[in-house]
């Protein structure tokens, strides 16, 4: 299975009925495709919408209905729209139940870096800092390694997105949580051993007696 789809399918299992959810760009956006149809989840787009729907059919897009990247989307029955102050009041105020964001690095304490690479990539943080600071639950959805180098690091070398640690990291190799503030291997991807995950993980992970395989 495509690594991104493994991640998206596993993250989708974290969503609960009635949750208000904000998905970042990239892998997180794919999560919406794997939410069971009987689960009622509200997706927020931070440019001012709760109730985002799929990309409209050819010829049905409207220039005033877009996602945070400016691309056309649709709105589901029961959707609501609001200005940016309300949108970020929802985010910072703890009204968003779950946010799913991409990452460049997550460290052993759950700190996330995902908004800049000094000297190389300085696009701006957009809504990421508010989301990590304010959402009730922060899930990072990212590849475990980039160019053979672990993205689960001992300590972030890149600038942090927030001092607040994330709750869960889902990669194509593992699910990692932070009980008592300590990075802990909770699940391995189908077909991978604990040893194989550790071999591509820079951070020191706690290993419980039983590490089940991801169910996707």
């Amino acid at each position: 299975m495509d690594p991104q789809i493994i991640i998206a399918r596993r993250v989708a299992k974290e969503l609960r009925n009635g949750n208000l959810v904000n998905l970042g760009i990239g892998i997180p956006t794919l999560v919406a495709n794997y939410v069971p149809s009987d689960l009622k989840v509200f997706f927020q787009s931070e440019n001012g919408l709760i109730g985002t729907g799929p990309i409209p059919e050819q010829g049905m897009a409207h220039p005033t209905l877009t996602d945070a990247g400016g691309r056309p989307i649709s709105a589901l029955p029961g959707a609501s729209t609001f200005d940016s102050a309300m949108s970020f009041g929802l985010i910072r105020g703890g009204h968003v139940d779950v946010t799913v964001l991409g990452g460049l690095q997550v460290d052993a304490h759950g700190h996330l870096a995902n908004w800049m690479i000094p000297g190389k990539m300085v696009p701006g943080m957009g809504g990421a800092m508010d989301l990590v600071t304010g959402a009730k639950r922060v899930i990072v959805a990212m590849q475990h390694a980039a160019k053979g180098k672990s993205k689960i690091v001992a300590k972030c070398s890149l600038p942090l997105t927030s001092a607040r640690p994330v709750n869960l990291v889902v990669t194509d190799m593992a699910v990692i949580g932070f009980p008592d503030g300590k990075a802990t291997l909770l699940e391995t991807a189908p077909g991978l051993s604990v040893g194989e995950v550790l071999a591509l993980t820079e951070a020191d992970l706690a290993i419980p007696d039983n590490v089940p395989e991801m169910r996707i």
Binding site: S45, E46, N47, G48, L49, H62, P63, T64, L65, T66, A68, G69, G70, A75, T81, F82, D83, S84, A85, S87, F88, I91, R92, M121, V122, P123, G124, M125, G126, G127, A128, M129, D130, T133, G134, P159, L160, T161, S162, A163
Partner: protein, 215 residues
């Protein structure tokens, strides 16, 4: 409120002015005003805008013509021209978290000196800012943001200047309409008073200084 042509409105903006522009990736942006700013070549602008849009769209047009000298924004990663101008030090860029950006503008429009936000505490953004504890929790003091001009785009404007917005094109427009000395508005449709019901007015008419005539 006074109804004016787009040429007259933009003629009021001097070179070097501070200008807030509504919109999110070019959605909900007053394109006609920006086209006229380009035509009249207003240089050295201090731009306050969520993003830099993309080349040829929204505030992206101002970067195409190198009219911006200072920018406060939250994300410019989708406009390579704005990125190049920042990296070449042609524009001074202040990148701000989006929630902080909108609250600073809201504060500017609501008579507040600033806001206390937890966003940015313990990061690079805290450098040089006052950190204040409230009930044991740390917050950053983020100061209010205002501009000489706000360029706003609405869906409906009535003859008095009451405004209503459409879907995700609302974004920063109503907040910016409170935070500038002079507020200039374009609207998709200009309609008789009463078409926008009182409960549906988002920006009340007294906030609007100039409405650009359609046609």
């Amino acid at each position: 409120m006074k109804a004016v042509s787009v040429e007259e409105a933009v003629a009021m903006i001097p070179a070097g002015a501070s200008v807030m522009v509504g919109g999110f990736m070019g959605v909900g942006t007053p394109e006609r005003l920006l086209d006229e700013v380009v035509r009249q070549r207003k240089t050295g602008l201090t731009l306050i805008s969520n993003d830099a849009a993309t080349p040829g769209k929204g505030v992206g047009k101002l970067f195409d013509q190198t009219l911006v000298s200072k920018l406060t924004a939250t994300h410019i990663g989708l406009n390579p021209k704005a990125q190049q101008q920042m990296l070449a030090n042609q524009i001074a860029v202040d990148l701000v978290p989006q929630g902080t950006f909108v609250e600073r503008i809201r504060a500017g429009g609501c008579g507040l000196g600033g806001v206390l936000t937890p966003t940015g505490v313990g990061t690079l953004l805290a450098e040089g800012k006052r950190q204040i504890e409230v009930d044991g929790k740390p917050f950053l003091l983020e100061t209010a943001l205002r501009a000489q001009f706000a360029l706003v785009h609405a869906f409906l404007a009535d003859y008095l200047g009451n405004l209503a917005y459409a879907l995700t094109s609302r974004n920063f427009n109503p907040v910016m309409a409170m935070a500038a000395d002079t507020v200039i508005v374009t609207a998709e449709h200009i309609v008789p008073v009463g078409v926008i019901a009182p409960d549906h007015v988002v920006t009340p008419a007294p906030l609007v200084d100039y409405l650009i005539t359609n046609g």
